[in-house]
Symmetry: C2
Subunit: 219 residues, 2 copies
C-alpha cells in the first residue's frame, strides 16, 4: 500500500505537528529525516496526491485523517515492538529503537493486535512513551520535567524526552530508570544544575541538559 519511505514521512510529519500549531515546514521534515528540502517537496506532492496530507505550496503541510491514522498505527507498532524486545527478548532500553524502526513497518493489524495482547496491553513503551490503543487513542502524560521541579519537590520518573543511546546509558549508570523516585535537594542558579536524591538512597548531580529531558510525575 504505502512504501516504508512514505510511512516514515507520515510519522515524521505527525511528530513535528505535535510541537507546532500550524503547518509543518519543509525544512523541519528534511532535518528530521536527514534528507534534503527538495526531496521533501517531491514526497509531499506524492502524499498529497494520495490524500494523506493537506498541502498548499509554500504553506507547510498537515496530515489528513487518513494520514494521521497511518502515522499513529506505525507509532503503535514501534512502541509495542520496543516493549517486546525489552520484556521478552532481554534487550536494554538503549538497544531497541533502531530495530523498532524496521519492525514498525511490518503491516498487519492482526500481528499488531496479537502482539499487544501477548504483551498484556502495555500502556507505555520502555522510554515511557504512551502506546496508542487499537483505535489510535494516545494518552500522553503531562509535560513536566525534572528541570521544572523546585527545591524539595519530588516525583517519579515516567519517561525521557531524549532517546539517544548515550543519554539512556548515562541514566542507567546513575540508576535513573523509569519508576525511580527523585527529590530535588539543591538547585544551582548559575548553570541550573541540580543535586537530587534517587530512591531516598544516593544523591547525584545532574546538569540542566540532563534534567530537562527527564519526564516526571509529581508525587
Amino acid at each position: 500500500m504505502n512504501s516504508f519511505t512514505e510511512e516514515n514521512y507520515l510519522k515524521a510529519i505527525f511528530k513535528l505537528s505535535q510541537k507546532t500549531n500550524d503547518g509543518v515546514s519543509t525544512n523541519a521534515i528534511a532535518e528530521s529525516l536527514e534528507t534534503k528540502a527538495s526531496s521533501v517537496t517531491d514526497m509531499i506532492k506524492k502524499l498529497s496526491e494520495k490524500k494523506l496530507v493537506n498541502y498548499k505550496k509554500y504553506q507547510g503541510v498537515s496530515l489528513t485523517k487518513k494520514g494521521k491514522d497511518i502515522a499513529v498505527s506505525i507509532i503503535r507498532n514501534h512502541r509495542l515492538w520496543e516493549v517486546f524486545l525489552v520484556e521478552k527478548l532481554n534487550f536494554k532500553w538503549d538497544e531497541v529503537h533502531d530495530l523498532a524502526e524496521d519492525l514498525e513497518h511490518i503491516n498487519s493489524k492482526k500481528l499488531t493486535n496479537q502482539l499487544d495482547a501477548f504483551l498484556e496491553y502495555p500502556k507505555y513503551d520502555p522510554h515511557g512513551d504512551p502506546i496508542p490503543d487499537k483505535d489510535g487513542n494516545i494518552h500522553r502524560h503531562q509535560d513536566i520535567t525534572l528541570a521544572d521541579l523546585k527545591l524539595n519537590e519530588q516525583g517519579i520518573v515516567v519517561g525521557v524526552k531524549e532517546h539517544s543511546k548515550s543519554y539512556l546509558n548515562y541514566l542507567e549508570s546513575i540508576n535513573l530508570v523509569l519508576g525511580t523516585e527523585i527529590k530535588v535537594k539543591e538547585v544551582v542558579d548559575f548553570d541550573r544544575s541540580m543535586s537530587v536524591t534517587i530512591n531516598k538512597e544516593n544523591t547525584v548531580n545532574i546538569s540542566h541538559q540532563a534534567s530537562k529531558n527527564l519526564i516526571i510525575k509529581r508525587s
Copy 2:
C-alpha cells in the same frame, strides 16, 4: 548492507540449488520470484560483483560461501518468526508465511539469537521445515512422503512440501497436523489415491496430489 531484493534472490537461488546438482538457471529464478529473466540477469550480475554468487554467462549460477551464509540466515529468521507467530501469537500455520517473508529481512544477529532462545531453540518450524542453527547447520529429514508408503505401512506426519493456504487448510480440516500417526489401508492403482487411518481413529481418502506433499517418518 544488502537490499530486501538481493536477499530474496539469494534465498531463491539457495532453495533452487537444493533441487539440482549443477548451476541454477536464470529462468528457474525468474519463475520462483515471479519476475522476468532479463531482471534476473541484471541482478545476478550485481550479486556476482558483490561476490555473493559464482556466475559465467549462460552457465547458470551458484552461491559463494558468503552468499550461502546470508541465504541460510534469512531462512533461519523466516522459520523462527513462523514459530513465534504460531506458538506465541496464536496464528494458524496457514497464516504465517507472508508475515515471515517480511520479518525475515530484519537484520540483527542479536534479535535472531534472542528470539531463538525465547522460543527455546525449536528444531522445526510450523510446517516441519528444519531451522538452521546459529552456525547455519541444517538437519533436514528424510524425503519420504505419504505417497511412498505401501499398504499397511505407517508413519508420523513430520512436514509438508507444499505451503499453500488451501493445502494447509485442507490438511487441518481432516485433522492431519504435524505429529499425526497415519496408516495406509488401501491404495487405488488407477489414480494412486489412498485410504488412510488417522491416529487410529477415522479413515479418510487422500489424492496422490495431497499424499505426495506430506512428509512422513516411518514408525
